[in-house]
């Protein structure tokens, strides 16, 4: 069985996120996220504030709901998954195997995301005794969870809590302590509406909050209690119960939060505060999109997020077990989320519905600021509400982001920036958070330091002082006729007492034995002991050393003429030459030897690349030292070799040896070496670039990785049970070596031309790095200029206003305030407020687009430079004209110019569908492609849904008509039309 396809870039949106202690490590919490069809476990490192992905697992199904729960007394959370499989899955994260293991999988229905098959909603009893899974309509199933004698999780057969003709809007497990597990659901019964032709019942029927109780003694579920709601609810939040709180639920309704509980507890109702002087449509209701609960032994609070992205902190005041008051306070504004998680380490993870996901540190809980706190006790007029002023972050500090391309509207792949490889121009995001992302295949590289050197070096190495040291002590740079040794401390300075030969170039250097250093230069080898004693070996007369291979106990050098000399370190720390030498049939081009494996005293193979386009494996075993074992012919002479021995995942079993061969024709060959016979097998080839490939050993995630340099640099590393070979988004490198210091644990020191650079790769696993250009509205279509590397695009949004309209609204509101003032003093105050209103413009990319009424549309046309992102031309369409389509046309009446046609719809209402016609804008593109001008606007009877060029004319689709237009001076001229009947 072979897996034939793995996506290069997995889904980037996060639909569900739950937090818990999935690894079972004490005081550590991870977040489990569902990205469409993959389940991912991420960890927010409290020290660095960085997000790490621990595990990514494809489930090959649609994940619709996730819930984390734990059995009482346990310290490890399980994940329950509701999917499109018609089954409930309980997963446990196994840290040692780094995967989610399926513990239970219970089938209850058909596959698919269906109306009555559960999977949409998932809720668990807070004590982990039962779990409820529900569908959008009718079906709800309860499973009892328990543990057997060996403390393994057990699951019962399902108990039904179905109710026909009932829609479900939300579900939550009520915290009732250790009484019978209870679930609360938001239900709407439509049976009577379906049987009532007059439509009267539709107005009368109310949504109900229904409590289901699982009787653990009788082993069945009863519909305990249902209470009608005055406002439609969409979300339920469980309030901690038992020892920790008053129990009950908060129902998030349109405009209100309502606390409800069983028994004689009266409802507590509190309006959701609104933004002061908001430009949004006044008829819009406000609703809560998601919530997060924080609970410790002493206190609990909720963070709820409104549709506009504003996060409120909600607290409950209690008198013994009765809730007396609900308090709500503006906290901060973050991107509108699908899910929020408050972690015990003080982080807030926000899985944004569109755009990048954010991780914030909660700097303070908003207890001691001057933000007003609103209470359910405050008297309000009917229909009146609280107001607050949105502001920049005060309680949260952004620490990290996970990039997301969702929603990806359109892409174009081309090499517009004139680089080696094409870029992906991706239009993504929605509303004011929209972006044009330029994606390049490659890992993002962070540059730690760049320093200039006195000449052009040709090699660089790092050397430790002692084998037990964590960090490197020296950087050795080799020039054409000199060697420079730098000492790494707080700063990097030249070291003069290193014992190296400074007047010769260096061929190789390394730490040898426990604390000695070895320098190989063309005339010999210099073994520098820690007490500064120096032993030297001289190359035989008239021959020089051309290549060498080193590890901690072995030294192999290649002399000109193709002879190999081999040395081994003995017990006293002395290098001993092996009596025989090995003559090869050509010049030695490269050599490599793996590190001494753990628990052994030597590496068993030496690999040599020879000028007759072969690579040879030579034994270093004491029984047949320097005996040839195997060889492989290559398509081109080898440039570089790197032998790597990697132990298997669990540290047991046989290690595998890989030989990486960089060829002079720019290919990388990767071959497995048989650990017994030294045979080469299973060769894989990959083209890396136009220059000879050189290979360097570096460290990534505490494992050996290979940095390959050619016309581009590549990194071959092992990550999440897979090998990744990814280019680096960085100028090409000459020579590199691994680098470890206090500031940079896993870096690379590299040379290009006359500079020495220290770089590090952080965002492992990523296939693309992105350059972002911000847009104003949701991008819809783009056309690329055929020669000028510019992109012209249309951006359109429903239910929003144009800049002009927003300014007008601001002015109107300000004028209203001024006109309300009666006396001189009031007028002065009103003028001040009005002035403030005219000048405060919230950054829409942070605070969200202004939401207008339906049928209000805003659109812009923009021309930007693909390489720099500079906006060359910008045109805003009048209010309510929605740009739908665009194309590039060369009219045959105007053969020497390029025109861009933008088709629009006017005042479209989505439900029920209506419109007020359409129009086509004609823009003239300048010859150099860096500017456009409006030529004319052609009105049409119906919205224009598609435009295309057709034999030097424009083919336009209007409703059920196809029409051909010719270019005219004042407007486009209709030439012929075809009406399609069947539409």
């Amino acid at each position: 069985m072979h897996l034939y396809h793995l996506t290069l870039q997995g889904q980037t949106s996060i639909n569900q996120a739950v937090h818990g202690s999935f690894t079972g490590a004490s005081k550590q919490q991870e977040v489990c996220v569902a990205r469409g069809t993959t389940l991912q476990l991420i960890f927010c490192d409290p020290k660095s504030g960085k997000i790490q992905t621990l595990c990514t697992q494809d489930v090959f199904g649609v994940i619709r709901s996730l819930y984390a729960f734990r059995l009482t007394g346990s310290n490890k959370d399980y994940v329950a998954v509701g999917s499109d499989s018609g089954r409930i899955a309980i997963l446990e994260y196994k840290q040692e195997r780094n995967l989610f293991e399926r513990i239970h999988l219970e089938t209850y229905g058909k596959t698919g995301c269906r109306r009555v098959v559960p999977g949409q909603y998932l809720a668990a009893d807070p004590r982990g005794r039962a779990i409820m899974i529900g569908a959008a309509e009718r079906q709800k199933l309860v499973y009892i969870l328990n543990r057997d004698v060996e403390a393994r999780l057990t699951i019962s057969s399902p108990l039904e809590a179905h109710k026909t003709y009932t829609l479900c809007q939300g579900m939550v497990g009520v915290d009732v302590g250790f009484e019978n597990p209870t679930f609360a659901c938001l239900e709407f019964d439509y049976e009577e509406i379906d049987n009532d032709p007059t439509g009267e019942n539709l107005k009368k029927t109310q949504q109900h909050l229904t409590f289901y109780e699982l009787d653990l003694g009788l082993n069945h579920v009863v519909r305990k209690y249902a209470e009608p709601l005055t406002d439609l609810g969409n979300h339920l939040i469980a309030v901690p119960g038992g020892q920790e709180g008053p129990s009950g639920v908060i129902v998030c309704c349109e405009n209100y939060l309502v606390y409800k509980n069983l028994g004689d507890q009266p409802d507590i109702k509190c309006p959701i505060p609104r933004r002061r002087n908001d430009l949004d449509d006044a008829d819009r209701t406000l609703m809560i999109v998601c919530s997060a609960t924080h609970k410790t032994k002493l206190l609990f609070f909720f963070l709820v997020q409104s549709e506009q992205g504003d996060v409120f902190k909600v607290t409950l005041e209690t008198d013994e077990d009765l809730v007396t008051e609900m308090k709500i306070k503006y906290f901060d504004t973050v991107p509108v989320a699908n899910a929020m998680c408050i972690l015990k380490t003080g982080f807030l993870f926000v899985a944004a519905e569109f755009g990048d996901h954010q991780l914030y540190q909660i700097a303070n809980l908003g207890d001691n600021d001057d933000e007003p706190e609103y209470s359910s006790r405050m008297e309000l007029e009917e229909g009146d509400t609280f107001f607050f002023a949105p502001r920049s972050l005060q309680n949260l500090v952004p620490v990290d982001t996970i990039p997301s391309l969702c929603p990806l509207i359109n892409t174009h792949i081309a090499d517009l920036a004139r680089e080696d490889a094409p870029q992906i121009y991706a239009m993504c995001g929605r509303g004011a958070g929209s972006k044009l992302k330029v994606l390049r295949n490659g890992l993002e590289v962070s540059e730690m330091a760049v320093s200039e050197l006195p000449g052009n070096p040709n090699a660089v190495w790092t050397v430790k002082r002692n084998v037990d040291d964590k960090f490197d002590a020296h950087i050795v740079v080799s020039f054409l006729n000199a060697t420079l040794v730098l000492a790494i401390g707080e700063t990097v300075e030249e070291a003069t007492d290193s014992g190296f030969v400074a007047t010769q170039p260096t061929i190789g250097c390394a730490l040898i034995g426990d604390d000695s250093m070895l320098q190989v230069y063309p005339d010999g080898i210099r073994h520098i002991r820690s007490d500064r004693r120096v032993n030297e070996w001289r190359a035989p007369g008239r021959r020089t050393i051309v290549k060498c291979a080193l590890n901690r106990r072995q030294v192999a050098i290649g002399l000109s003429g193709g002879e190999i000399v081999y040395f081994e370190l003995d017990m006293t720390g002395q290098l001993n030459e092996f009596t025989e030498r090995r003559q090869l049939p050509g010049e030695i081009l490269c050599m490599s030897m793996s590190e001494v494996p753990e628990g052994e005293i030597r590496s068993r193979f030496l690999t040599v690349g020879v000028s007759d386009s072969t690579v040879r494996v030579i034994s270093l075993d004491p029984s047949d030292t320097l005996a040839p074992l195997s060889f492989q012919a290559l398509p081109s002479p080898p440039e570089s070799l790197l032998l790597l021995e990697s132990s298997s995942e669990d540290g047991k079993g046989v290690s595998t040896i890989h030989l990486n061969i960089g060829l002079q024709n720019g290919c990388l060959l990767r071959t497995t070496v048989d650990s017994v016979t030294g045979d080469l097998m299973d060769t894989r080839t990959r083209f890396l670039g136009t220059r000879p490939v050189r290979l360097f050993r570096v460290r990534v995630l505490n494992k050996d990785a290979v940095l390959c340099t050619s016309s581009r640099s590549w990194l071959l590393y092992h990550y999440q049970n897979r090998f990744h070979l990814t280019p680096l988004s960085y100028p090409s490198l000459e020579f590199a070596s691994s680098f470890a210091s206090e500031q940079c644990a896993e870096g690379v020191v590299a040379i290009t031309e006359n500079t020495l650079r220290i770089i590090a790769v952080e965002k492992l696993g990523g296939a693309f790095n992105e350059v972002i250009h911000k847009l104003a509205l949701t991008p819809r279509r783009m056309v690329v200029h055929p020669s000028a590397n510019t992109i012209m695009m249309i951006e359109t949004d429903h239910a929003t206003y144009t800049e002009q309209m927003k300014n007008k609204k601001r002015n109107d509101m300000a004028n209203d305030i001024e006109s309300l003032a009666t006396d001189e003093q009031e007028l002065e105050l009103a003028r001040e407020i009005a002035e403030g209103m005219r000048n405060t413009k919230l950054d829409e990319s942070v605070f969200g687009t202004v939401k207008g009424a339906p049928t209000r549309w805003a659109s812009v046309v923009r021309l930007l430079n693909a390489k720099t992102g500079d906006i060359h031309s910008f045109f805003e369409l009048p209010q309510d004209e929605a740009a739908k389509c665009m194309t590039l046309i060369q009219f045959h009446a105007q053969p020497d110019t390029l025109m861009v046609l933008v088709g629009c719809a006017i005042s479209v209402r989505l439900r029920p569908y209506s419109h007020r016609g359409g129009c086509v804008y004609t823009f003239l593109l300048s010859n150099s492609g860096d500017k456009f001008d409006l030529v004319h606007r052609t009105p049409t009877e119906e919205p224009v849904t598609a435009v295309h060029d057709f034999r030097g004319m424009a083919l336009i689709a209007l409703g059920n008509r196809l029409r051909i237009y010719e270019f005219g001076k004042r407007k486009l001229l209709a030439k012929c039309e075809n009406k399609v009947k069947l539409l």
Partner: protein, 93 residues
């Protein structure tokens, strides 16, 4: 043979009834146009809510939050095609 025919017919009928009670929206010989339309709409809305990608698609179209889109779609399931037609006195029951 003759005696088994009515029981078999009865058996098929019972099976159908069982299916109809098990699967909401399962049709029968007397399904009206309104019933069929209403069921198709409810199924569609439930599917839009159930597939995360489709819900995002709708949310981008309408320029609303995903939560609002889901809320609207489920509320629309209550009566997607208007009230049922008046029952004609010629119909049974």
């Amino acid at each position: 043979m003759t005696s088994s025919a009515p029981t078999e017919r009865f058996h098929v009928l019972a099976q159908l009834e069982h299916l109809q009670s098990k699967y909401t929206g399962c049709g029968h010989a007397d399904t009206s146009r309104w019933e069929w339309m209403t069921n198709v709409h409810r199924d569609t809305y439930a599917s839009l809510v159930g597939h995360p990608g489709l819900l995002s698609y709708m949310a981008v179209c309408e320029h609303e939050s995903r939560a609002r889109t889901k809320f609207n779609l489920i509320n629309r399931m209550v009566q997607p095609c208007g009230p049922p037609p008046e029952k004609s006195p010629l119909d049974d029951d």
